[in-house]
């Protein structure tokens, strides 16, 4: 079979162009210009659905020594209901059921939304107990968001919501 070296060179040029182009192009815009990202992410276990019960001395005495604990808690935990408001409007919202066969697992929340840059007032609130009406954790803060900024809203039981 004959070979045409000029055509081969042309083919190699096409090969280089294809590899060179698609290795970096077309450019992809992950975050629109003039926007920032708000991420509400935390791990938290809801409170027990029923309160822990005090075990009486008689009941404790019936138990083997290694199983004697002053309180007895039911396993099932409450769902986590969380909501983030930006400038008075709901931005992120979810209700996460506790995982696990007995509904006793911790919940991982990861919610995000792109928002316009500038000054915004955020209110974040959470309910982690079916025994509480409304929200039992609330935090609010005004933030001046810069372009491409990532506002990370975390939660821990000691500090409550933390804006990072």
């Amino acid at each position: 079979m004959r070979r045409n070296y000029a055509l081969q060179a042309l083919n190699y040029l096409i090969f280089m162009a294809l590899i060179g182009y698609f290795s970096t192009s077309p450019a992809y815009r992950h975050l629109p210009e003039g926007e920032a990202l708000v991420v509400l992410a935390f791990s938290h276990a809801g409170q027990h659905v029923e309160p822990c019960k005090q075990v009486s001395a008689e009941e404790l005495a019936k138990l083997p020594p290694n199983m004697r604990r002053p309180t007895e808690c039911p396993r099932a935990r409450s769902p986590i209901k969380v909501e983030l408001l930006m400038d008075g409007e709901p931005l992120l919202k979810t209700v996460a059921e506790p995982p696990g066969l007995f509904g006793d697992g911790g919940v991982d929340i990861f919610l995000d939304a792109t928002v316009p840059t500038g000054k915004h007032h955020f209110v974040v609130r959470m309910n982690d107990s079916v025994r509480v009406k409304g929200y039992n954790y609330t935090y609010e803060q005004t933030v001046e968001l810069k372009p491409a900024q990532l506002l990370f809203i975390d939660f821990n039981t000691e500090q409550g919501f933390v804006f990072k």
């Binding site: 083919n11 280089m16 290795s23 815009r29 975050l31």
Partner: protein, 513 residues
């Protein structure tokens, strides 16, 4: 016969490359080219590893030094590493497209297709961890995207994506990714590649030297013209905005901006499963496997050497005859190509002239006896001055379209099924010339049919065509279904040559008289 549109597109592309590259046609060497690109990736990767600092703080700076401070060596190596990886994915995609378009994934060949599909993902994930190691904005983007994908699987506790935001990353993280990219994933890939070619014989891993040199030079030139560079360093307090994605590897990630990670998994797993199941969509009935007849098999092992799909094995003689070996066929592996029949010296049509011709190995759907009878009947029907018999194959150009008063076409299962002695038989029994067709030169639906046939006719591979057979009366012209013009032109040229030959022989006889 109607040629499917996809096949027509592929054949046109192949034709273009044939004009340019001849037997170096990259479409005929996609597997070996992929191997070659991996060699480039390996060598350039080892070089990069020497200078790479695998830590959260040092990774970006070390890659930056490699790229800029030693642009003449490290920079080129980095670019080669990237572009050869991209070229490998391109080759794999083309390889899949080719096998699909040419319908080479059905029947006994399901295994190579089935085991090949996951290889694509293994290569892609290997590339992803490679991009991760640079720890720039692109790495940050794919790290968080990958974490979202992992979080969607019910096998991890906690949120990986949140770890990135919390700044919970450490150098251990880099050691893990380094281990995966440098050792874990490549080893898994090599193992999977071994599985992929497990049911093939005579596997080659090196492309033709000319093609390898050309490809390397092209990648080198690209590395100099457009060196690979990094994005800005990763910064987990900001979000990557405009990204120069490597679309060969990172095409899944933008989907995460529109779909949930679970939906992306459903799509990728769905496409993967669909691709893996293609050999059975729709199910196709394969031709019966080759059958060994020990009464005529002397255990010469030539069919074992020639079988492209490792369907034939050799074992100790079981029938008490004096021969040392016998062969057996594994029906599940047999692609029913008939190449073993062409390899068997007992397929000689001069044997058993007055009784049924039996061969040591034969195809039930087209036994050598039927082939001899077909040859005889075609020769008897030929008229005119120059009688030409054309042997073709089921998967190339349909040679019966050449049928005329002076030409008869016989379609074999593969051109490699043709016993060389049948050519001599045809020439001795009235044919002025024999043309052998099949798939395009350097290609074969059954991998080696064309090549073995050409080598047998050239006297380079047993069973050889005897040297006393007049080679001027034989021509080989491969062609795909769409190559009618090419095959007809070759036939016309052959007829012209034979006419000159016959006339000069007639003149010689006249002078003798």
């Amino acid at each position: 016969m109607q040629v499917p549109p996809l096949k027509r597109i592929y054949l046109a592309l192949e034709n273009w490359f044939n004009y340019s590259f001849g037997s170096w046609n990259p479409l005929y060497h996609l597997g070996t080219l992929t191997f070659f690109f991996f060699w480039i990736v390996l060598i350039s990767g080892i070089y990069l590893f020497i200078f790479f600092h695998g830590s959260l703080d040092g990774a970006y700076a070390s890659v930056d030094r490699i790229t800029h401070a030693q642009w003449y060596a490290g920079g080129i190596m980095r670019s080669l590493h990237r572009y050869a990886s991209d070229a490998a994915v391109g080759c794999i995609l083309l390889h899949m497209f080719r096998e699909f378009a040419l319908d080479r994934h059905h029947g006994a060949r399901w295994y190579s297709w089935f085991t090949g599909v996951p290889l694509l993902w293994m290569v892609v994930t290997l590339g992803i961890t490679g991009y991760w190691l640079v720890w720039d904005k692109l790495a940050q983007y794919i790290a968080i995207g990958s974490a979202h994908l992992m979080d969607a699987l019910p096998i991890f506790f906690g949120s990986m994506a949140r770890n990135f935001l919390e700044g919970a990353l450490s150098d251990r993280f880099f050691i893990l990714i380094e281990f995966l990219h440098l050792l874990g994933q490549p080893m898994l890939l090599v193992f999977a590649l071994w599985f992929h070619v497990r049911r093939l014989s005579n596997v080659s891993i090196n492309p033709p030297r000319g093609l390898a040199i050309g490809s390397l030079l092209a990648l080198l030139a690209l590395s100099i013209v457009k060196p690979a560079t990094s994005h800005e360093p990763a910064d987990l307090t900001t979000v990557p905005q405009l990204l120069n994605l490597d679309w060969f590897y990172l095409n899944i990630y933008p989907l995460l901006d529109y779909w949930s990670a679970g939906q992306v998994w459903v799509l990728t797993i769905g496409i993967t499963l669909l691709l893996m199941l293609l050999p059975w969509l729709p199910p196709r009935k394969a031709g019966p496997a080759a059958v060994v007849d020990l009464d005529y098999c002397d255990g010469c092992k030539q069919c074992f050497y020639d079988c492209p799909f490792d369907a034939i094995s050799v074992q100790a003689r079981s029938d008490g005859r004096a021969h040392e070996h016998e062969v057996t066929v594994e029906p599940a592996l047999c692609a029913a190509c008939g190449i073993c029949v062409g390899a068997c010296h007992s397929s000689n049509p001069f044997r058993m002239a007055n009784k049924e011709l039996k061969s040591g190995i034969d195809m039930p759907q087209f036994p050598v006896q039927a082939l001899r009878e077909k040859t005889k009947s075609c020769l008897a029907a030929l008229e005119g001055k120059i009688k030409i018999l054309v042997f073709g194959c089921e998967h190339g150009f349909d040679v019966t379209r050449l049928n005329s008063r002076e030409t008869a076409g016989i379609t074999l299962l593969c051109s490699g099924m043709l016993p060389p002695t049948l050519i001599e038989y045809a020439l001795r029994n009235g044919a002025d010339g024999v043309m052998v067709s099949g798939c395009r030169h350097a290609d074969c639906y059954f991998r080696f049919g064309n090549r073995w046939m050409e080598q047998r006719l050239a006297g380079e591979r047993p069973p050889v065509l005897r040297s006393r057979v007049d080679r001027r009366r034989i021509t080989i012209q491969g062609g795909a279904e769409t190559d009618q013009d090419v095959v007809e032109a070759a036939l016309a040229q052959f007829r012209e040559r034979l006419t000159g030959l016959v006339e000069s022989e007639d003149d010689g006889k006249g002078e003798d008289r």
